[in-house]
């Protein structure tokens, strides 16, 4: 780790001011990605601004609009929330299967979305439920948020404050974990929403994406059989020692089938 100046602001205003003043400032949420990156000397920020003391970034609220989760809310909190389990059980279950206990007790939804790891789980739920990401400046629709490999719509100096998930009629998430990292090799989130079925895939591509053909098929016939014959093209998907693009493409169909069956 290289040296940096450490800040722990108590308000959003102080955080934004510190970020503005820094030559190359970096926000710190749970640190589950940022700290290893620093330890391996892959990043050299001048300042690290820890969001942990900003109370307004934390907490879960459930109302008529759905579930709103503060950016600094930990995966373990979402997993353990009775309100989330009641409103969107698939979301609570997804959070409960992120990483391991230590990671869930540190990692945050804001950090996960800002990082946009191609294998992260939350992006599937955000895209699959058509969530809205709120920042200090604006709201961003899920469909506009994920831009590419570790790339989002966030601008320099923009801070995610919360995420709002509309309540679906039904939903489920199926994850096939990478055997080593246990991130998603392929994860598929399916939901029956007010604007029709949504199918979002994580792990397979550079960032989370929707599968229109499956959504159309489910609109006609909500059943596992409806998606069983639909394959996403392997071209452009991720490939590594654990899974070729072809294997991942195959798993998208398998996981989609299982997710639809699980959603009921």
């Amino acid at each position: 780790m290289y040296d940096f100046a450490y800040h722990k602001p108590k308000s959003m205003a102080d955080a934004l001011a510190a970020l503005k003043k820094a030559a190359d400032g970096k926000l710190l949420a749970g640190g589950m990605t940022l700290i290893p990156t620093l330890k391996q000397r892959l990043a050299q920020p001048s300042d690290v601004i820890d969001l942990a003391a900003i109370g307004e970034l934390r907490g879960i609220k459930v109302d008529g609009n759905g579930v709103t989760v503060g950016a600094m809310t930990k995966h373990a909190e979402v997993a353990a929330s009775a309100d989330v389990a009641k409103a969107i059980p698939a979301l609570a279950k997804l959070a409960a299967n992120i990483g391991d206990g230590q990671v869930r007790n540190r990692g945050t939804i804001g950090g996960s979305l800002a990082n946009s790891d191609p294998a992260a789980d939350y992006p599937a739920a955000v895209l699959g439920l058509g969530a809205t990401i709120t920042t200090n400046e604006r709201t961003i629709a899920a469909d506009d948020f994920f831009k590419g490999l570790f790339e989002t719509a966030l601008k320099e100096g923009e801070i995610i404050t919360s995420v709002t998930f509309p309540k679906p009629a039904k939903a489920a998430y199926m994850k096939f974990p990478n055997p080593a990292s246990r991130y998603a090799m392929v994860g598929v989130f399916v939901a029956q929403t007010s604007s029709g079925p949504r199918v979002a895939v994580t792990g397979a591509g550079p960032c989370a994406f929707r599968v229109k053909a499956m959504e159309d098929a489910l609109a006609k016939n909500w059943s596992a059989d409806a998606v069983a014959g639909i394959k996403v093209p392997a071209n452009g998907l991720n490939g590594d020692i654990h899974g070729s693009p072809e294997y991942r493409a195959h798993l998208v169909t398998v996981m989609a089938k299982r997710a639809v069956a699980a959603a009921g």
């Binding site: 780790m1 590594d240 020692i241 654990h242």
Partner: protein, 789 residues
């Protein structure tokens, strides 16, 4: 005072309190005065020439004490790292062992090869400075795959080793094998890969050294499984520090699995530089360094053929193996694919003729050496795979085929065609018990039930033999070993009656502190809490050979028993004097010397006290004191055996493999502490399952980069990958050591890969994919096997 412990009791581990409360003392915990920190600059390339290296900026960086390059080390006449076992090839020529400088001189040969050493006041300063070293590399093509390394056109790893061949070795009677094949009713052929593994001890390797200018003495604290051997090698071969001026301490060590037997560049340089700079130096590997530079395990490519008669009797086996040595020969690398591999190819069977050919080759990868089981897992995986394949081809039940070929219980001692003489064993009851525990008879019904749910079930057997308790010194010496393999022990009583067991064996997870105390408690009738086991410090314990090859109890424990016998013999003399009886009438029972036929007795503690305060003592005939030494050199290896049965369920949609049942029945001879033995078996099976299903070491075939260089990509077995194990024992005591023990440390890892893979292949046979899968059977590979057309 606590209780006397008996052999066979499930005594709780005395060392656990220390470890579980964070009170262990590992190398990195040590606080040395005015300590500096070393950082090693590693090669980012698999193969490159170092055109130039400029350390001037690093040397001037804040806090830097010294920077050393390959040239500095060569100028200081630091010897190269050695291989301590010289294998002779099939023409009687010694293996080719290219020079292995502690810091690369002009060529780097694997990703992680040491390029420079920086010493600074803090670890961060050392690392900062290392970033200032400018190395101009000319990147060269690399050869990674062992089979590719023997090709005529292959890139050469060492200019002085033509064809990348360290040796071409053979064992067995080729003519007899050829004759048997000529009359075989059936021949089963097999091509097999034994995948490379990264050891992944929980504690990374570490070294800390200091030099005492006043006495000229060096002290090296290091994560070693065999501190005396480390001292011997560093003294006699590498650094030339006289043995009596070098103390090597291996304090608490967090796992080794073989990887901490060897003498690496890192601790060598830390020790040398401590003398050179006059400062204490500490180094602890980062996890990514462990991945790159710990000696890896396995990595064989093999073609084998088994000849059978029409009834399934094995007639002959021939094996042709290419063993990857990596870029250099590690300390005991050469012995692993030869004397710990070829000699095991008879397994539990009466195969009358066996021939094994092994070519050991260099590649641009990390050196390969012993890893839990060392050679024996490779032999077992090969043999048990080909036996099950033969059973499938001949349509004979694999359990039945094994039974037809087992060495009969009455045939021991049994001379195999590959040099070893098995001392004892009884294989059929083991297999029967395992089949019962596994409900083998119900397997086909469960297979059908799984099929109805769209799943593929399979069951696999692995019947292993192991030669451990390393080793009769004369035998290993005749085979090229540079050391003897006896063990030492000292039982040192204190005047107040408590005692220290000093052992040359070393515990880094094997629970010696409990087991060794338990055997002495049982033998001498002394409460467990009055016994201290001391190990790992050359300044405290007699010269010893350390722990590896499941040798600690069979060899180290035997030395302790011998020393205990000497204590009893001396105690009898003292007791006879105190009770004014004839020595011949004294017996030792329950911790006291008694005159037979009377109720007169002298407790051992009283005899000890008299020995140290000899006021009423036969000083004319007997030395005072109660402190006995023993060395034990085994007359043979020990031969644990057993059968594991694994049942798996494959999800054909994803390729995922779930282990639904796992049975292991072992014959370890007598069992001192069943709880500890079960722990060793559990851990061994976990590692074997890791090799079979999870652990995938991948070097990029072009660039030689280690693609599985962290836990993001290297899959360690975790609790949820494993079922609850179902264990059983059979006991045929070892006939040639005092405890009748055989060793249990490696068995799990030796047998499990074949048990798991035979189950996977049995499952895949339902869709004709049984011959398309290699270890590790990851979901992707299983899926590809099922869907390859």
């Amino acid at each position: 005072m606590g209780n006397v412990a008996r052999i066979g009791e499930r005594v709780r581990r005395t060392e656990d309190r220390r470890f579980l409360t964070g009170a262990g003392r590992y190398v990195d915990d040590l606080q040395l005065a005015r300590c500096t920190y070393a950082y090693f600059l590693r090669s980012p390339h698999a193969h490159a020439r170092i055109r130039s290296i400029d350390t001037s900026k690093a040397a001037a960086a804040p806090g830097v004490v010294a920077v050393f390059t390959g040239k500095d080390v060569a100028d200081a006449k630091v010897g190269g790292l050695i291989c301590g076992w010289v294998v002779k090839d099939k023409h009687g020529e010694p293996h080719k062992a290219p020079g292995h400088p502690a810091i690369a001189l002009d060529t780097v040969r694997y990703v992680g090869d040491t390029v420079a050493m920086v010493i600074a006041d803090t670890a961060a300063q050392a690392r900062d400075a290392a970033e200032q070293i400018e190395v101009d590399y000319e990147v060269l093509p690399a050869v990674i795959d062992p089979a590719a390394a023997v090709a005529a056109s292959a890139v050469q790893v060492h200019a002085d080793v033509p064809g990348n061949l360290s040796y071409d070795w053979e064992l067995g009677d080729k003519a007899a094998v050829d004759a048997a094949f000529a009359r075989a009713a059936h021949i089963t052929k097999l091509d097999l890969v034994n995948n490379r593994l990264v050891p992944n001890a929980m504690e990374p390797r570490a070294a800390a050294a200091e030099y005492d200018r006043g006495t000229g003495t060096y002290t090296l604290y290091t994560t070693s499984q065999n501190p005396h051997v480390t001292r011997l090698v560093l003294s006699a071969f590498v650094l030339g520090i006289p043995e009596h001026k070098l103390r090597v301490v291996a304090p608490d060590v967090g796992g080794g699995f073989g990887s901490k037997i060897f003498i690496y560049a890192d601790e060598t340089l830390v020790l040398w530089a401590a003398g050179k700079t006059g400062r204490a130096i500490k180094w602890t590997a980062e996890r990514s360094e462990s991945f790159m530079t710990d000696a890896h395990g396995r990595d064989h490519v093999t073609h084998a053929e088994l000849a059978l008669d029409k009834d399934g009797k094995f007639l002959a086996l021939k094996v042709d193996t290419i063993a990857n040595m990596g870029a250099y020969l590690s300390t005991f690398a050469t012995a692993v694919p030869t004397y710990l591999y070829g000699t095991l190819l008879a397994g539990q069977y009466t195969t009358p003729a066996i021939h094994c050919n092994v070519r050991a080759v260099f590649t641009h990868t990390a050196p390969v050496d012993a890893y839990r089981g060392a050679g024996r897992p490779e032999a077992t995986y090969l043999l048990e795979t080909i036996v099950s394949k033969a059973a499938r081809e001949m349509n004979i039940d694999p359990a039945e085929l094994r039974k037809r070929n087992f060495i009969a219980a009455g045939a021991f001692p049994y001379q195999t065609p590959v040099a070893l003489t098995y001392d004892s064993g009884n294989y059929t009851p083991i297999l029967d018990q395992a089949m019962k525990l596994a409900d083998y008879a119900g397997a086909s019904e469960r297979k059908a039930a799984a099929k109805a749910k769209g799943k593929l079930r399979g069951i696999g057997i692995s019947s292993y033999i192991e030669a451990c308790g390393l080793a009769p010194s004369a035998v290993v010496g005749s085979l090229g070993a540079g050391v003897g393999q006896w063990e030492s022990a000292q039982l040192r009583f204190n005047p107040t009656g408590n005692l220290q067991i000093l052992t040359g064996s070393h515990s880094h997870g094997q629970s010696h502190e409990t087991t060794f105390a338990q055997i002495v408690s049982d033998k001498l009738g002394i409460p467990l809490d009055q016994i201290e086991v001391v190990h790992g410090d050359t300044a405290q314990v007699p010269f010893g050979m350390g722990s590896y090859g499941s040798r600690s109890l069979a060899v180290g424990g035997s030395a302790i028993m011998k020393a205990a016998d000497k204590i009893i013999a001396k105690g009898k003399k003292i007791a006879a004097h105190l009770m004014e009886a004839a020595e011949a009438d004294i017996v030792f029972e329950n911790g006291a010397f008694k005159v037979t036929g009377t109720d007169k007795n002298v407790p051992l503690g009283q005899a000890v006290f008299s020995a140290y305060v000899p006021h009423n003592y036969p000083l004319d005939k007997l030395e005072p004191g109660m402190d006995e030494n023993a060395f034990y050199d085994p007359s043979n290896f020990t031969y644990p055996s057993g059968t594991q049965i694994c049942e798996v369920e494959v999800d054909p949609d994803t390729g995922g493999v779930e282990i639904v049942n796992f049975v292991a029945v072992d014959d370890f001879g007598n069992v001192v502490n069943p709880m500890i033995v079960e722990g060793q078996v559990h851990g061994g099976i976990a590692q074997g399952v890791g090799q079979a299903l999870l652990e995938y070491t991948v070097y990029d075939k072009e660039s030689g980069q280690l693609l599985s260089g962290s836990y993001m990509d290297y899959t360690m077995p975790r609790a949820d990958n494993l079922p609850s194990f179902n264990l059983g024992y059979q006991v045929t005591p070892c006939p040639h050591n005092p405890l009748g023990v055989k060793g249990c440390g490696e068995a799990g890892a030796i047998a499990a890969p074949a048990a798991v893979m035979n189950a996977v292949r049995d499952a895949l046979a339902q869709v004709g994919a049984q011959d398309r899968i290699e270890m590790p059977a990851t979901p992707q590979r299983v899926w590809q096997a099922i869907h390859a057309h």
